[in-house]
Every structure is written in structure tokens, then in C-alpha cells.
Amino acid sequence: MDRRTFLTTSSAAAVPLGSIGAAGLARAAAAPTPIDFKSNLPAPGSFPDRWICGSPSCMDNTDPPVQVHWYNPHTAILRQNKAYSYEAPFAPLYFGNDRVLLLDEGFVQLRNDWDLRGVVDGCIADWCKRNGRDPASLELLVAFSHLHADHYAATNQFADRPNTRYMGLTQEEMMGFWGMTNFPEERVTLDLGGRDILIWGSPGHVMSEFAHYDTYTQILYTGDMFYRGRCYISFWQPWFDSMKRLIDFCDTHPVSHVMGCHVEISKDGQDYAYGMTYQPDEAPVQMTVQQLREAFEYAKTITKPGIYFTGTVFLCNQTRGTTTIDQNPYRY
């Protein structure tokens, strides 16, 4: 099966018939009717009013290691606990009739420290129970938005999981995973089994980053190149071009929410400095298309490196040598 086929073929069809045992045939006989992911769009869903966002003392944190929020019955959004890693990225989990897509992970490697694998298995079991499916019948795709460790650290937790494929840790393997040959312009369609995810290139924060659009919820997932916090722009022109690509996409496709990987800003626009483990008043993770457009308009006026606040996000244009906004409070 080549990459093109992989993207568009459901996994069930790819399993050789001989490998389906009697139990498999029995399940197949009782196969539930497929879920319709293409009518009445966008599928309604909701974000929590407040995400779990750390604690004053990390060792006294009693929140779950991963917060699981069901945006709607077929879409979960996972978030790492800030006391497990300050990066605390968000990770969408999209369910289709044949496959499940996990986008991004968290900044901890080992299962004994942080059991992302167990949480994802739990979500899949939960979804299967609700929808009368067998978890073994679903293929899990583990992918990440870009090549930074807070997004792929837990990858190897999935190495021994059956029916699972995950992305490699190089730009080549990332492109190859999505079968791309013309990054970043090329837009591929990933079929999860009646639920299409559109994926294209979005470099700028790093060279290898993707944008993801879920046709079911119509959430545009912008990774680390655009999120509610400090958008570290390592390469200006690729980033600006990626923003233009996002705007063009929004001009031609309905988008319910724009969502990034992190939140590093308070509701009233205060910066939570890099590394903080407690963000008691953090802003929501979801943004509007309007906010994206405003940021792009603002970006058009930027001509040199520096930190700029668009009203929604900080654009840290080629400031990787400073990273923060705050000053020494004891200066006199």
C-alpha cells in the first residue's frame, strides 16, 4: 500500500481476510451502522469554561495527569497537566469510523511518569463502548503538529500498541507519513472513515509543521505557529506565508474555531512567562477566525524582529534569544 492509498483507504479493508478470526467475523456480522460525519456541519461541540491549569505547589497537584475534555461525542481534546510539564500542550483526538487520529502529545517520555498511552486507550475504549465498536477494529494514528519534543515526547509509549502507526522524528518521515511531496502548499485529505482531516504545511515556527482542519467540527488546528501565547516565529517569511495560507483557507472553508497547542496568556492579556507551572486565569485555547485575521493584518505591519501583541497573541518575531517579556522586578 503506498502513501496515497494509506491516506484514503480505511484500515479495515487493508486487513487480509485470513487474519480475521471467528470472533472478528462475528463482530463484523454485528457491525454497527457507520457514524455520519458529513451532514449537519459543523458538528456542535464545546470547550470547557476553564481548563485545569496547574497549582501553586506542583507536588501538591491532585488533578489528573491528562485532562480529557469531550468536545463532542466523537472528538476529545486532551491536555497535559502543568504539574507534569510546564509545556502542557493540548492534543486533539479525532474519531472516525475506521481510525482515530491523535495530534500531539505532551512533554514527558515514560509511561510510568505520565501515562498518555493509557489515557488514549481509555478514550478509545470509552468511545467504542458508547458506539458499539471493538477497540481492536480501530487503527490509531499518532501524529504531531511539528518536530518539538513537547509534541512528540510520548511517542514510544505507542510502540507496542496493536493497530497503531506513528510519525517518525525527522522532517522526511513527517512528510512521508502524510504522503506529501509538495510541502507546504500541498493539501492532503486524511480519511478516518467518513471523517476527513485536511492537512497542509504551516512552517515558520519550525520548518516542519502542519496545519490540520477537521471537516466534522471544522476546527482549524494551527499547532505552535499560531496559539494563544507567545508565537515564537523562527523564520519570518515562511511564517508569514503560512499565515496567508491559513487566511486563504478561511476564505474558502467554514472554520468554527482556530485552536493552537498551548495557552500562555491570561484572560486580560498578561503574559505567563516561559516555564510557569500555574496559570490561574488563563485565556481559552480556542480563537476566532476574526482573531486570526487581525493577527495577520498586524503581521503585515511588522518589518523587524521583536515582540508584538496583536490583541490575541504575542508574535515573537525572531526573538528566540530572549523568549520573555517580563523584566527584573527588583531593579532600582
Partner: protein, 362 residues
């Protein structure tokens, strides 16, 4: 004493051994009966008629050792089960307390010193809530034990900060409010000066805290904080410098004061023996010039806490260099940040210093 030729590490133990001691199995050249033995109270008498009086006079620094590693957090802070307040006894009269890194990333060090008439707590940690950071409870327990050992009914406690304004060191003060037999040195600068009798002589003069046979000097050292002071302990020969000079990212508040205070401490080392400079935090790693970022809750490669007094010369040299410039300057044992963000980074690497990147925690 200098090692002599009679000691042969190949035969009798070399300094690469696990304990890290220069003489892992002792140094026979020193003999058996060292004068410092008299500084430690004997446990032999079964009944004591009167309270024990310690002898704080000694030639050179009092015997003592940092025999254990500081706690350094954990990869997953939520799963850390280290003590909230780690206690390391340096010697019978000197305790080093460290706040758990996973309670507060600043993980400040707090020092508890005993004399014949009282105890001094230098600094108070970064967390006010006693259930998260039970400093008062720990100090009370140490004082109660020492009181029993020495036959004292009451040990008055003084709590003093190396900077009253520093929220990484003043938060624990609240736990001592209302504690009997306790003097908390007031934190507003003017009142603090008055308390030490420095109202007219700040920053040139010095104050005193008499613990009974052990008189701690208070040396004004503004620079990282406008109300910064350092404490000198003539028993252990320690300078407690708080935020002014420590193995970490030193955020300079005022570069002229900073240099003047370092020079004041340098002059002090000319007239007083100093074994170690003990700061309030550790941020450096044990590879030269590398530091943990702010808010880090896992610091397995931390540098040791103590600094030799020669580091003052280096600090003075580079404090001069940085004066008047908004910049970051890396040295092997500390990093100076003047007029820049506490998270400033730089591509300038000091010449002649090996550039080693320790492995990531995972």
C-alpha cells in the same frame, strides 16, 4: 593543612571515591586529636546539672560538612515525594534547609544557626502556606531537639532575611508571626536599618546579631535588592549572601550598588577568614556556565551550593565589565543579568570555558 608526601592516595584511598572527600579514609598526617573536637558537645554524660555551654572559639573554620546532596525536584513535579523542607546538618550548631523544588521552583536555602543564647534563621523561603512548606514546624522541631540536648528551656529565635523585599525569601516570615520568644527583623528598608543600628551608617557600617558566643555580623550588600544584606558567621566562617552572589543567574538591581557591595565583601574577606560563600539558591548546573531556566522543577545536574571566596574576585571583575551595560554575562559559576529580562539568553560564550551540554532529562 596541606597534604604531605606521606599520604598516598593509591594505597589509602583517592579523592575520586564515592564520598567526594579529599581524604576518603582520613588523613593520618593530621593526627587523631584535632582541636575542633572541643566544639562538639559530648553525649557521654547521663545527667547534666546545668545547660550546656558551647565553645564557639576555634582556629579556622569550625568542623562541619555538607555530607548529603540537596533534593533537586523530579521530572514530573506532581509525583515528587521528597521532603517539603530538606534538613542537612552542617554541624551541631548549623543547619541548611532547602525548600522542595516541586513546591516552589526557586527552591531557596534557609540557614538555621545556634549560639549559646539563641538561634538565627537566615531567610524564610518562597511559600507562605505552612501545609505546603512547613518551615516553622521544621524549625520548631530542630529547636526543640537542640533545647532538650542542651538542657535549655527557651531558645530565643531571630528571623532575618538577606532581602526583605525578595518574595523568594520572605514568604515564610508569616509562619513566624506570633511565635513566642521570636524576633522577626522588620522588612521595610528604613525599619530594618534602624533595627540593625545602621540608620546612619548604611551601607558602610555593620550590624550584629549576638547568639551568645557566636556573633553574626550584618553587612549591608544592596545590589540585587535595594535592601540586601549579607551575614557573616565567624564560627563556620561562612558568608551568607542570599541573592547577591550565588551559583545562579544573578539579577542585578543596581549595578553600582552591586559592585560596591561585592567590593565591601572582598574587603571583609581581607580582614575575616571566609571558608565558603553560601548563597540563597542554586541555578547553575555542574557543567560550567550552564544554568537551569526559570521555573524548572527538575534540576538533576545542579552545581554544589558552596562557593569559594575567590569567586568574589571574578564577580568584581565582571561586575565592573557589565556596569552601565544592559546585558547578560556568563561565567563558569554564575551568570550576571544587568538590565535585561530574567530569562535573557545570549550567544556569547566566555572564552576558555568548556561548552558542555549535559543530557536532557529524557
Amino acid at each position: 593543612m596541606e597534604p604531605t608526601k606521606t599520604y598516598n592516595p593509591a594505597l589509602s584511598g583517592n579523592p575520586q571515591s564515592a564520598t567526594g572527600r579529599v581524604y576518603p579514609n582520613g588523613n593520618p598526617d593530621l593526627g587523631y586529636n584535632l582541636p575542633g573536637a572541643r566544639n562538639t558537645d559530648s553525649a557521654v554524660p547521663l545527667h547534666r546539672g546545668k545547660p550546656v555551654v558551647h565553645d564557639y572559639a576555634c582556629d579556622g573554620p569550625a568542623p562541619g560538612a555538607i555530607g548529603f546532596r540537596s533534593t533537586y525536584g523530579s521530572n514530573v513535579a506532581a509525583k515528587n515525594r521528597d521532603p517539603r523542607v530538606q534538613v542537612i546538618q552542617y554541624n551541631e550548631d548549623t543547619f541548611i534547609l532547602r525548600q522542595n523544588v516541586c513546591v516552589h521552583w526557586e527552591a531557596p536555602f534557609t540557614y538555621l544557626l545556634f549560639g549559646n543564647k539563641g538561634a538565627l534563621l537566615i531567610d524564610s523561603g518562597a511559600t507562605a502556606e505552612a501545609h505546603l512548606y512547613p518551615l516553622r514546624e521544621t524549625v520548631d522541631a530542630i529547636i526543640a531537639r537542640i533545647g532538650q540536648v542542651r538542657g535549655w528551656r527557651d531558645i530565643p529565635l531571630t528571623v532575618a532575611c538577606t532581602s526583605g523585599e525578595d518574595v523568594a525569601q520572605n514568604q515564610g516570615l508569616r509562619q513566624f508571626a506570633g511565635r513566642p520568644s521570636t524576633t522577626v527583623v522588620p522588612t521595610p528598608l528604613a525599619v530594618m536599618k534602624q533595627h540593625y543600628g545602621l540608620a546612619a551608617s548604611w551601607p558602610a557600617g555593620t550590624g550584629r546579631i549576638d547568639l551568645g558566643g557566636r556573633v553574626i555580623d550584618v553587612i549591608p550588600t544592596p545590589g540585587t535588592h535595594k535592601d540586601g544584606v549579607s551575614f557573616y558567621d565567624p564560627y563556620c566562617d561562612f558568608l551568607f549572601t542570599g541573592d547577591l552572589l550565588y551559583p545562579g543567574k544573578i539579577n542585578i538591581g543596581n549595578d553600582r550598588d552591586f559592585l560596591a557591595s561585592l567590593e565591601r565583601l572582598k574587603a571583609w574577606t581581607g580582614s575575616h577568614p571566609v571558608k565558603w560563600i553560601m548563597g540563597g539558591h542554586i541555578e547553575m548546573m555542574f557543567v560550567p556556565g550552564k544554568a537551569y531556566p526559570r521555573f524548572a522543577t527538575y534540576k538533576p545536574y545542579e552545581r554544589v551550593l558552596e562557593m569559594v571566596p575567590a569567586v568574589l574576585d571574578e564577580a568584581i571583575q565582571y561586575a565592573r565589565e557589565i556596569q552601565g551595560h544592559d546585558r547578560m554575562l556568563i561565567r563558569p559559576d554564575f551568570i550576571l543579568l544587568n538590565g535585561v529580562s530574567p530569562d535573557q539568553r545570549t550567544l556569547e560564550w566566555p572564552e576558555g570555558v568548556p561548552n558542555i551540554n549535559p543530557p536532557r532529562p529524557f
